[in-house]
Structure formats: structure tokens, C-alpha cells
Amino acid sequence: MQPALERELIVSGVVLLALATLVEVTALVRRRPSFVVTAACFAGATGFFLAAIVGRWVRESQGPFLTLYDILLSNGFSLALLLLLITSLSAPVRATLLVASPLLLMMGIWLLDAPATAVPLPATFDNYWLWAHVVSGKIFLGFCLAATGIAVAMLLRGLIKAPRASYLVPEPERAEQALWALFFIAFICHSFMLVAGSVWAHSAWGKYWSWDPLETWTLVTWLILGGVLHARVAFKKMPAGLGHALVVAAFAVAFLTFFGVPFFSIAPHKGLM
């Protein structure tokens, strides 16, 4: 696949995410259900991003693992797919799309601005543990985003007037239960990502842990995720809003770890000659 076609596919996906964002906001203002339209946009974006990934993979003979462009493209695909699946399976979770749509749109615009030049994957990096590490990381981020979207919706619910608030989160108790279930799955996936990453690192550059910036911030993210779960038990009278704010904070750190830290350092994750 030619790079121009790859870009057209990505632009198409980004346009659909913009449409999904517009639909979600309009639906909130008009208080009319929008899930089918938003889901269709997400399905389309997932398809376009997948086609771009496959085309790039065939052209470059390697998966999307190394550059900011690769990471944004593969996460654009995985997040859109996971949110589509999660919201299709569970109605109380659908409020998350109001937050997830603009976030994915922002990532898509960022992707269009990122340099598309491929960086060859070092020979030592390519093994099964890389796959385990990357896939679990993407599932973690998807579930964490889904939980965060609900948390933001719950926080907004407390700020806006009653009819619209009821539309935003029609079943707050079920949404609350779903939020923590999703957050717990995210914690499990993050734990596995950390372990798989250590095994992969031991094979790829000989050390299972070397305190490089990405490893350190991944550990910090894990501690924050674990800390939020412990805080719920330690402070039983903690206001629900504070719990939701902590979930949002955990996602913010995870997001920065995924898309910020690896690209501001010369960490081994970028490989050596």
C-alpha cells in the first residue's frame, strides 16, 4: 500500500471520529439516544485504521511497535475497537463515548501530524513476549479509558441540570458498578503488561528491569491504579466524586506514560544499533 492511500484511510477514520464526537455532543444537548450512529462511526474508524495498519505492515514488513506514529495508529485502532465492543455489550457503559470520542479524535489529529517514517524493529525485540506486552497494554488502555469515560460522565452528572444529567447516566448505580469492574480489569491487564514487558526486556536487551523512564512511569501507573483500588477500601466514606476524580487522574498518568514518556527519552524501548 502506498503511503498516500494509508493517509487517506487514516483521514477517513479521523473524520468518522469527528462525526462521532459531534453526534455525542448533539445527543446530550437534545437528549436523544445516539448509540447506533456513534457505534457505526467507531466501527468505520476501526476498519479504516485496521486497513492502514495492515497496508503499512505489508509495506514495512513489521508491526506498528516503535514510533509515535505507530503507537498512535495502533492505539487508535485498538481503543476504537475495544470501546465499540464494551459499549455494545453493556448499556450502562455507553456514557463513556461522550469522553472517548473527542479523545480518540484528538489522537487521530495528533497521528496526522506525526512523522510517518518507519523505524526498523531491532532483531532482539521481535518475540512472543513483545506481543503479550503490547496486546495487554492496549487492552489495559481500552478498559481504563472506558472506566474514565464513565467517571467523567458521573462527575459531569453532578454538575449539570437534572433532565440532561439523567440522560447522560440513566442508571448511575449500574454505571458505578461497571466503572469499577472496568477499572479492575484494567488493573489486571496492566499487571500482565508489566510482567510480560519484563520478560520481553530480559530477552530484548538483557535486563528485566533497568529503571528506564518508560519502565519507571509504567510502575508509577501501576502503583496509582493499585492505590486507587486500595483507597476505595481504606476510605469507605470517600465521596464518590473523589473516587471518580482518582480514576481520571490514573488514566491521565497512563496516557502520558503511553504517548509521552517513550518519545521524550532515548530509552532502550527505541532500540540500539
Binding site: 489486571i188 500482565f192 510482567v195 529503571w211 492505590g227
Partner: protein, 343 residues
């Protein structure tokens, strides 16, 4: 009800709020330890020990933790990971060494980067010899497969061959030898002093192709004179626009030998040059391979413990969030309440 002082202390130590303090300390010290020279990363040991003590105390005193299978498995697994990290730090060895083609592994040449207090160094008992080295490259110095062949003496006393690759190490007596990106040319030199005494040895040049523009090194002769040696190929060793392989070469070369305060003399393979106290002859051009050596006997067990912890999380999730879990939890709570009433 009577409680011993130990149990009272353990209950205080088991506080979930202390867990949060430990986690916060660990996160802050990890970030500071990586970013600031003023804080050593070793400081993370303090919150790790605190968290381990907190966890042991919680397992001793927190009934919920002991009665919920998932939570119990997760926390026991986590405690095992803590313990195994501690054991690994105490028993580990980490170092690196360069071995030239045709030469044997010399334990004295190993640079040690980490040596645990309880590590019983057995490198002296390891015997292997460096054989063929091949490293494939794509254009623009993109490194591909490394194949470094070694000959080693097995437990049966016979010599065996093994090829160390990017994904395959070479393990002897628990020590793992991994080929690194670090490798280069080694010049085999023959030395004969004025009394007729001879010696032969290899001088390793800077890593290649990383320093392909600077294949220069200095070496001190057995007679004490410092000489600068430079490898000068008659034609480019590789073409960066096509794929190539770093291997023992037949590309013609000369060696520029510059003794201190003397003029440079260019010599070909087999030629000799007179320096203070003796004669230096260029015998051969070979390769050297850099190896990373580690000894981490508890690493597989750390993986087992970590996977056990993750399995515990999955069990806890299933018991708490999957359909039917609410009913089961209500029953468990009721049983727990009855148990507490009887006590």
C-alpha cells in the same frame, strides 16, 4: 479479648493507609531516583521493605484478606515477588566481557557491573573459545541477526559448539552469556623482544560499525612503549546502500603504527615494525564479540510468582464482578458475620 502486643503491633502495621503511604513513597522515590542525581534508586528499597512488612502484617491479621481466595493468592504472589526480588539482588551477577576470535574467555577480563553480597563467583570454572562471528546489516546500519559461535567444554569433558544469537543466549553453570551490539575488529599481534622472547595477543579496536570512522586505539608493548594503531582498509568495508555482513574479512588492509614521538609506519599483514625493545608483527585481523553476562537464578520463579499474583486478581474479579458473584458474596459475608459473633 486478650491480644498480644505483637498482634496489636501487627494490626497497626497492617493498615491500608500505610499501604497507600508506601505506594506513594515508592512512586515518588522511583521518579526522583531516575530523574535526580541527588536521590539513589536504591532508596526505593525503603518503601519496598515497608510494603512487604505491611503485607505480611495484613496477611496475619486481616481476615478478609485470608478468606477471599483471589485476594489471598494475589497478595501472597506479590509477597513472593518482593522476596524473590530481594534474593535476586543478593545473589545476582552482572557484567560484560569482550572475547576475540580464536581466543578463550578470560574471567579476569570481565568487567563487573553488579555483584550481590551472597553471589558465589564461579566464572573461573567457565571455559569457552570464540569461533566464527557474523552480524547481518540492512542499509543505513540497521542491525539484523547476530550469530556468534563458541566452542565450550561440556560436563562430559568434550568440546561442543553453540551459536549465540539475538534471542538465544549461552548458559553455563547458571551464567547467561548474551551477544550484544558491541563488537569490532581485533588485531592479532606478534611481539618479539630483544632477548628473543615471543608473545602473541589481540588488541581490540572500537566498536564497529558504530565507530567505523575511528578504528584507532593505543596499546603499550611488553617493553613499555605506547603505540597508536590504526586499521586502514584499502576499500570501504561495507556499502551503506545495500545489505552486508560483518564477518572475518579478506578486504586488504594496512595498519598505521605510530610509536610515541615517532613517525607513522604503515605495515601490511605479516609485516613487522621495529619499536623500542622489540619487534611488532601484524599477524591477522579478526573480530571480537562483546558479551553481557548475568546470573539470576530466581528469575523463573519471579515469573511464576507474578503470574500467580495476576491469577489471584482474576479470581478476585470473577468473585466480585461476574454474574452470581453478588449472591455468593452476600452468603460469605453472612458466614463471616456468624463466625465473628461466635468468636
Amino acid at each position: 479479648m486478650y491480644e498480644s502486643a505483637m498482634i496489636r503491633t501487627a494490626k497497626k502495621l497492617a493498615s491500608l493507609r500505610l499501604t497507600l503511604v508506601g505506594m506513594l513513597m515508592l512512586a515518588v522515590l522511583a521518579v526522583l531516583g531516575v530523574r535526580s542525581d541527588a536521590v539513589s534508586i536504591d532508596m526505593t528499597t525503603i518503601p519496598l521493605v515497608l510494603l512487604a512488612m505491611n503485607l505480611v502484617a495484613a496477611l496475619m491479621t486481616n481476615r478478609t484478606l485470608r478468606t477471599q481466595a483471589g485476594l489471598l493468592v494475589f497478595h501472597v504472589g506479590l509477597l513472593m515477588v518482593f522476596g524473590l526480588i530481594g534474593l535476586s539482588v543478593l545473589t545476582r551477577f552482572d557484567g560484560h566481557v569482550e572475547v576475540a576470535q580464536g581466543a578463550g574467555f578470560e574471567p579476569a577480563a570481565v568487567t563487573t557491573t553488579a555483584n550481590g553480597w551472597l553471589h558465589d563467583n564461579r566464572l573461573d570454572g567457565i571455559e569457552f573459545y570464540q569461533s566464527d562471528i557474523r552480524v547481518d546489516y540492512l542499509p543505513r546500519l540497521v542491525r539484523q541477526e547476530t550469530r556468534s559461535t563458541v566452542e565450550y567444554r561440556g560436563a562430559d569433558g568434550a568440546m561442543h559448539r553453540a551459536t549465540i544469537g539475538d534471542k538465544v543466549g549461552f548458559e553455563v553453570d547458571g551464567y547467561r552469556f548474551l551477544a550484544t551490539f558491541n563488537k569490532g575488529f581485533a588485531l592479532l599481534l606478534h611481539w618479539q623482544d630483544d632477548t628473543g622472547a615471543e608473545a602473541i595477543g589481540a588488541v581490540n579496536f572500537l566498536s564497529f560499525p558504530r565507530h567505523d570512522w575511528n578504528q584507532v586505539t593505543t596499546w603499550t608493548t611488553p617493553a613499555g612503549q605506547e603505540v597508536e594503531l590504526e586499521i586502514d582498509f584499502d576499500e570501504p568495508y561495507f556499502n551503506d546502500d545495500s545489505a552486508w555482513t560483518l564477518k572475518a574479512t579478506d578486504v586488504p588492509y594496512r595498519v598505521n603504527v605510530t610509536p610515541t614521538d615517532r613517525a607513522t609506519v604503515a605495515v601490511r599483514e605479516g609485516d613487522a615494525v621495529r619499536v623500542d625493545g622489540g619487534t611488532l608483527r601484524v599477524a591477522d585481523l579478526r573480530l571480537w564479540m562483546g558479551y553481557r553476562i548475568d546470573y539470576l537464578p530466581f528469575l523463573p520463579w519471579m515469573l511464576v510468582a507474578a503470574m500467580l499474583a495476576i491469577a489471584g486478581l482474576a479470581i478476585h474479579f470473577a468473585s466480585r464482578y461476574l454474574p452470581g458473584a453478588a449472591t455468593a458474596r452476600t452468603l460469605t459475608d453472612a458466614e463471616g458475620g456468624a463466625h465473628a459473633a461466635r468468636a
